[in-house]
């Protein structure tokens, strides 16, 4: 399946060269190395230090080939293919060269394969078998790195929460250090000492805990870097692999599960390289997120509330109860009084069945999948939803010459796109511009990182437009039309309002005007904002002014594994018109009642106008940016059904709790942020009594003595919807941007708070993964050094964070890259209810900070 997606799409004709490798005539694009040419044509050349996504360094010297008319053996990874070259990869000379290299590498390699977890999938083992001598001529004591004071006979050093290093095994291919630097932009791992005592180690006093550190283990050709996740768990030859996807990030990163059938357990996740999506890099949240599947804390059986207490029940009892209560409610108050909230991480079939159940069985339009947005717009055809529906290609970031990130901390929200952006910058000399209310970790590659005043998002964009008009960077009529709409705003005023200097605005405008291919990405600062409509209107003006869509892509990136699918399948109160029409056609009808989104449903619950609620996979109490509001709403309900993997704040107050399957336990299809539908296969049998979402919905439907249709029927209906082009065009005319002055703030609360994801976590489930919690296991306050100094806070100090509606106490963590006065708190930990600080009606939540004396 992955193979056809891996094919590179060549857009323009490129010059080619023809060379002969082992008597085979091969034509490759100019600039290809001999090694790549050989590999593309099925000729095997062994390597250690070469990686398809990193620059060649020629360190291991394993890829020797003999090239006619060249005296010495050449390293194929760094030799460019030239017209008429004649290459031999299998001559005696080459074989001798490789054998010598293997011998050199094995000189100081400990051969502790029995205790090494790489045994069985080790490049060095395999290549020694293939090319090496059967005996060693080295008769000295092997060099060994021993830590002082260690009594262990194993020379392992833990260099990060997850990563264990054994320097003896290291063959110094430098792949880890290079990947860390070139691909991830992290510097926590390096090479120290020199010559044959060179060692790879973490930077002094630092831990290797970057959000991509798991990749270092995966690309290590020997067992020098291993992780706790896989360490001493099982031998690789006892496992089987299942292709799957990441269920946490929205890119749909391709993964491979290593599982063991008898234990019904997944042992690790590795990448399944797909150049269109992930380039073979996995963020740690993807790599270690699978551990939630094996967690012993999973909900085991259905629970029903009896006399205020949740007790265990059979599936049948629970389903009967749901049917009984839902029928009661709809009989009494009408079916409009039942609402549903699905998780955007569920597969297509579950989401579609959910929506179909509500719309055809309950005859209600109250379905939604967005649980963490404040003040959702009611209408489907807002500029915002238009922006969200625009097509986007991850691979197109690579060859963009300008990558523009607006209102997003890409590393936290979209780690894959973050890596693509780095790649575009490091390998293709793209210029990166980040416009965000706080400085992010992309600062080191950014040509310009403009930090605007919190809450002046639309002004920042207006400022760029005005700077372009001021500099005559755009055609006259356009400039005039927009200037009219934006009047009476002027450049200096706007610059002052948004806090970006006029010079910086001019630089940004020039970059947008001059770019030939652009990738413009909006993130959560825009989508979660209460004023998202205003901001996206400004973005739409910007798009029109510079014609961005004509020379690239402009999109607001979806946030969850199947947000894209949820939109396309119409799991929202007002689907896009095309989707709505299609659904009407398929179902032969469509409920006419008024649609309510999560926000308005919760408001109606408070008024007791919504009495029944069905939550599947979501945890609104934890993620919705107003904890009090959600809790009050849900507690007023007559009947709440919650399906989830784990006990959560929402399942705690539910009347019926159903154990849900994770994505690894059933076959499912997911639509990533590009709109690409991909399949994750079932790796293990459902844990305990849990069931997939689709099956749960079907069982409930069966209680109504109705049917949603057979599996094949659902699949074909879903396919019809996915095939539909539901993208809405961005506005083609300039619109006035209503500049929103921030609402009056409560006295004394001044520091803006952003509630985001920890770089190692996503949503409410990942805190059940032991590996991910070893990076971060509780909420913390991320604060810039300046602000910390003013407040006399030190790393690790407990801080009382207070907002008008709540307070929490969290330890401080000082982040060097944050320069202005904002604070960040991750929302992924149920032990610290961060959302209780937030109010949904505020554009910006502000807090006060005070140190807690212990």
């Amino acid at each position: 399946m992955a193979d056809d997606t891996r094919k590179k799409t060549t857009t323009k004709a490129v010059a080619t060269v023809t060379l002969t490798i082992d008597g085979k005539s091969i034509t490759v694009p100019k600039g290809t190395t001999v090694l790549e040419a050989a590999l593309q044509n099925g000729i095997h050349i062994p390597t250690f230090c070469w990686h398809p996504k990193l620059k060649s360094v020629g360190a291991c010297r394993m890829c020797y080939v003999e090239i006619e008319k060249m005296a010495k053996l050449q390293v194929s990874c760094a030799t460019e293919a030239v017209e008429g070259m004649v290459v031999h990869t299998d001559s005696d000379n080459v074989k001798q060269g490789r054998r010598a290299i293997i011998e050199f590498i094995l000189l100081n390699h400990p051969l502790d394969c029995p205790t090494c977890d790489k045994g069985g999938e080790c490049d060095l083992q395999n290549l020694t078998f293939e090319h090496g001598y059967d005996d060693s001529r080295f008769d000295f004591r092997k060099s060994r790195f021993v830590d002082e004071g260690s009594t262990s006979t194993f020379d392992d050093v833990r260099i990060g929460p997850e990563i264990v290093l054994n320097r003896n095994r290291c063959i110094l291919c430098y792949k880890c250090v290079r990947a860390n630097k070139e691909a991830f932009g992290e510097y926590d791992l390096g090479a120290y000492e020199r010559g044959n005592i060179t060692q790879i180690n973490s930077a002094p006093g630092e831990k290797v805990d970057n959000p991509f550190s798991g990749n270092l283990v995966e690309i290590c050709p020997v067992g020098a870097l291993t992780n706790s996740d896989w360490r001493y768990k099982i031998r690789v030859w006892l496992t089987k692999t299942t292709p799957s996807l990441c269920n946490f990030t929205s890119s749909g990163t391709n993964t491979l599960f290593y599982k063991e059938d008898h234990q019904n357990k997944i042992f690790r996740t590795t990448s399944r390289r797909n150049d269109d999506i992930d380039d073979g890099w996995l963020p740690d949240v993807t790599r270690y997120g699978y551990q939630i599947v094996n967690s012993p804390d999973r909900l085991r059986v259905p629970l029903i509330k009896k006399e205020g207490k949740q007790v265990e029940a059979t599936w049948d009892e629970a389903l009967d109860l749901i049917h009984k209560h839902f029928t009661e409610i709809s009989d009494k108050m009408g079916s409009v009084c039942i609402g549903g909230l699905a998780s955007p991480s569920l597969d297509n079939k579950s989401l579609y069945a959910f929506s179909k159940f509500f719309r055809t069985v309950l005859n209600s339009n109250n379905v939604d999948f967005r649980s963490d947005y404040r003040m959702l717009p009611p209408d489907a055809e807002t500029v915002f939803s238009r922006l969200c529906s625009r097509p986007f290609k991850i691979a197109d970031i690579d060859d963009s010459d300008v990558v523009f990130v607006f209102g997003s901390d890409l590393l936290r929200e979209h780690p894959n796109e973050y890596l693509r952006m780095r790649k575009a910058c490091n390998f293709n000399n793209a210029r990166v511009f980040v416009v965000n209310p706080y400085a992010t970790k992309a600062a080191d590659i950014a040509a310009l990182e403009a930090v605007y005043k919190v809450g002046s998002d639309e002004q920042a964009i207006n400022g760029i437009c005005l700077a372009a008009i001021d500099d005559n960077l755009v055609s006259g009529p356009k400039a005039k039309a927009l200037a009219e709409k934006l009047s009476p705003l002027t450049l200096p005023e706007t610059s002052k309002a948004c806090g970006i200097t006029v010079d910086d605005l001019r630089i940004l405008a020039r970059a947008l005007a001059e770019s030939r291919k652009i990738s413009f990405m909006c993130g959560e600062i825009v989508t979660r904002s209460k004023e998202r409509e205003t901001i996206t209107t400004a973005v739409s003006n910007l798009n029109l002014l510079f014609g961005l869509e004509n020379k690239g892509q402009v999109a607001s990136l979806a946030r969850y594994a199947n947000s894209g699918g949820a939109c396309k399948l119409g799991v929202q109160p007002s689907p896009a018109p095309a989707v709505k029409d299609k659904l009407k056609e398929i179902w032969g009808g469509y409920p006419e009642c008024e649609p309510h989104n999560t926000d308005s449903m919760l408001a109606l619950m408070k008024k007791e106008e919504v009495a029944g609620f069905f939550v599947i996979g979501a945890n609104p109490i934890m993620l919705h940016p107003d904890r009090q509001f959600v809790r009050e709403g849900l507690e007023k309900l007559d009947f709440l059904v919650a399906c989830d993997l784990f006990e959560s704040e929402t399942t705690e107050i539910a009347d019926v709790v159903l154990p849900l399957c994770s994505w690894a336990e059933y076959d499912g299809e997911y639509v990533n942020l590009e709109g690409r539908s991909q399949r994750a296969e079932r790796a293990v049998k459902p844990m305990f009594e849990s069931r997939p979402g689709c099956e749960i919905i079907k069982l409930i439907t069966a209680k109504y003595e109705k049917s949603l249709g057979e599996d094949e029927q659902l699949t074909s209906e879903i396919q019809q919807l996915l095939d539909l082009d539901s993208a809405l065009p961005l506005p083609t005319e300039f619109m006035a941007v209503k500049v929103v002055v921030e609402d009056k703030q409560d006295e004394g609360f001044e520091i803006p708070l952003f509630v985001t994801d920890d770089p190692h976590h996503c949503g409410h489930l990942t805190e059940k993964s032991p590996s991910l919690t070893s990076f971060a296991d509780d909420a913390y306050l991320e604060i810039g050094p300046d602000l910390a100094e003013r407040l006399k806070l030190k790393e690790g100090d407990n801080v009382r964070v207070e907002s008008p509606v709540g307070k929490v106490i969290v330890p401080a963590r000082i982040s060097e890259h944050i320069e202005n006065d904002v604070v960040l708190i991750p929302r992924n930990f149920s032990s610290t209810p961060i959302t209780s600080l937030l109010m949904r009606k505020k554009r910006i939540d502000r807090v006060t900070l005070s140190k807690v004396d212990s």
């Binding site: 360094v57 020629g58 360190a59 291991c60 053996l73 050199f104 100081n108 000295f140 000492e193 010559g195």
Partner: protein
């Protein structure tokens, strides 16, 4: 101020019309700008700025036949010509003053005693390739050179030889003095560039060559101190004059650092094509072997070049003649061993150096030098085993020509040549566990 007591033939050079590099080397004030200018300094620089186009400078140097004095002997003018003319990227010139080849100490004398000569040469080179920022990468241990060089750069800026709009020509040139961390590998041009960028000093794979993609991925020229120091003289006196020096293919003069068992170790400037025998035995130069012993062997071009035996020293010191007898001119460090030197001991010292200085990037050099050192240490300690020589030869064969940079070749070439020339001595050492010759050294 500290004046390093190095024997030179400065007085001879001062009297000679041909020797130019060491002309004022014995003048203790030469490092000062005033003295330097009074000796005709910066004349060439002004001439270049006012009268010559960059291409003319390149042509002049090309015609002079000046070849790189760092070791490889690549024609300097041709190297400058490789810089792409149409590239929009900035260009850099980097002077390689990381002189760490064992036995070589010529650049040090130039930088200590005639720093402005180096700056002038660099400035002309920079002008030729159109570079506006030039670097000099000085070996970290050369504290004195660093002080002198920094002082000289300051003076040159103050006098307007460097900086903005130099001498009203509209040409800007900045110079940065960078000190290394004391790693032999950083004398290799790509490792030097890595180190200059702040990376680990490890050589890069070529192509791309630095002239196309060097420092900060921009076209960069890396030249040795001595090559650049010769440039002002070429400009002043013309390529034709320079061609009259030396031999036909190896034009000009060369500094030789004579060390080891000779009576007068020191730096000598001679025309290329000078007789090695004369350099060793002439009283004006080496003055003969220490203690009037017999000569055992000579390394003619720094520790990384193959040995010459007494029968071979009737050779002229130029690139072609030395290649013909199976060695290399290298950096011009002539190391002399008398008859009482055990060749295994010499090799042990050399391999210890190369093992210590191997950067650890590519496998053959990293592991191979370590292994060789262990075997040779064992032989030297008297624990040699039959078959060790064959093993050493095979390991050398596996390193030679298979590494990224020439350090691997440098490490094994003296070993290979010593086994070729003195095999019976190696054999004796292995069989008897002791040296064949009596080893008493005046230095240890």
């Amino acid at each position: 101020m500290f004046y390093s007591p190095v024997i030179t033939n400065g007085s001879e050079a001062a009297a000679s019309d041909k020797l130019h590099l060491f002309k004022y080397v014995e003048d203790s004030e030469q490092y000062k700008l005033m003295t330097f200018e009074s000796h005709g300094g910066y004349k060439a620089w002004k001439k270049v700025l006012t009268e010559m186009q960059p291409q003319q400078v390149i042509d002049e140097v090309k015609n002079s036949g000046l070849r790189g004095r760092g070791g490889a002997g690549f024609p300097t003018g041709m190297k400058w010509g490789f810089v792409p003319k149409d590239s929009s990227k900035p260009r850099y010139l980097c002077c390689n003053a990381d002189e760490s080849e064992p036995g070589t100490c010529k650049d040090r004398v130039l930088m200590e005693r005639d720093p402005h000569g180096v700056i002038e040469g660099m400035a002309i080179g920079a002008y030729a390739i159109g570079c506006h920022t030039m670097f000099i990468y000085i070996r970290g241990e050369f504290n004195h050179c660093i002080d002198r060089m920094e002082q000289a750069v300051e003076e040159a800026y103050a006098k307007g030889h460097l900086g903005k709009n130099i001498h009203g020509s509209g040409y800007d040139l900045d110079m940065i003095v960078h000190t290394g961390g004391g790693a032999y590998i950083c004398g290799e041009e790509t490792a030097l560039l890595n180190s200059l960028e702040g990376e680990r000093g490890m050589s890069r794979i070529r192509p791309p060559f630095p002239a196309i993609e060097g420092l900060y991925a921009c076209p960069t020229i890396v030249n040795n101190v001595e090559s650049l120091a010769a440039v002002p003289h070429i400009i002043n006196r013309g390529a034709e004059w320079y061609r009259t020096l030396g031999t036909e293919k190896s034009a000009g003069t060369k500094l030789f650092s004579l060390s080891g068992h000779v009576k007068r170790p020191g730096n000598y400037e001679v025309e290329l094509g000078f007789s090695l025998k004369k350099l060793l035995y002439d009283p004006a130069y080496g003055g003969g072997i220490l203690g009037d012993k017999k000569l055992k062997g000579v390394i003619p071009g720094g520790a990384s070049t193959p040995f010459l035996t007494p029968e071979m020293i009737d050779v002229n010191l130029d690139y072609e003649s030395l290649t013909a007898v199976g060695s290399m001119l290298g950096s011009g460090a002539v190391i002399v061993f008398d008859e009482d030197t055990c060749i295994v001991w010499v090799i042990q010292k050399l391999i210890q150096f190369f093992k210590h200085e191997s950067c650890g990037k590519c496998t053959p050099c990293r592991e191979g030098t370590g292994w060789l050192k262990q075997i040779i240490d064992r032989i030297e300690a008297g624990g040699g085993q039959p078959g060790d020589i064959e093993k050493i030869e095979e390991i050398c064969g596996n390193i030679l020509g298979r590494t990224i940079c020439p350090l691997g070749d440098a490490a094994v070439m003296p070993i290979q040549s010593s086994i070729r020339l003195w095999r019976e001595e190696w054999q004796y050492h292995i069989e008897h566990g002791k040296c064949m010759v009596k080893t008493e050294f005046p230095f240890k």
